[in-house]
């Protein structure tokens, strides 16, 4: 089965802090995504990429940067974290339109 691994699984940071969330997929998929999950909103797309060095903005990109360093690795960066970014973050990968594979998530708390 397709594998998407996120780290860390939990993170607490202070307002204004710098945070990097990591994601690695071993599926050889071209597409990778970062979503955030909040109660009442479902999952919302932050950024996505279709290959190393490529980056596209999603539906809720403000306050986030991302970088795809290799086919396998996709990072989400919060350079000035705010309490509104407290959320559950999911990384995902996909090779085609039929299925998206998600990681187990990173719970980020900004205090």
């Amino acid at each position: 089965e397709a594998a998407v691994t996120q780290s860390p699984r939990n993170k607490v940071t202070v307002t204004g802090g710098n945070v990097t969330l990591s994601c690695r997929q071993t599926n050889s998929h071209n597409y990778m995504y970062w979503y955030r999950q909040d109660t009442g909103h479902g999952l919302r797309l932050i950024h996505y990429s279709y290959g190393a060095g490529n980056l596209q903005i999603g539906d809720v990109p403000d306050g986030y940067k991302a970088t795809r360093t290799t086919q396998e690795d996709f990072f989400l960066l919060l350079e000035l974290a705010s309490p509104s970014q407290t959320s559950l973050y999911f990384c995902a990968s996909s090779g085609d339109i039929t299925e998206v594979f998600f990681g187990k998530g990173t719970r980020l708390t900004v205090v």
Partner: protein
Amino acid sequence: GDSVTQTEGLVTLTKGLPVMLNCTYQTTYSPFLFWYVQHLNEAPKLLLKSSTDNKRTEHQGFYATLHKSSSSFHLQKSSVQLSDSALYFCALSEPTQVVGQLTFGSGTRLQVYA
């Protein structure tokens, strides 16, 4: 833009009873519809994906039928089990969008009691 509506935030049932979770959508084009299931502290996983209009798709005892006339893709099961307790998301993808770019509903939590 696209949108997916799930009207129930929480559904509670006794095991063995049937369930239907509602999903309606709005989109300009002819979409693909999906149901994802997320168990506690786990990743969302694909449960079902739509087929052609008015055709039923099934997996693990769950089934759904895409009805383009009513823009719906409701999820059903004839007899729920304790292990079905989870968060269920309806999602859509348009052929014109990026591969895997999904629009999700807000989710329905299904809680099954003994």
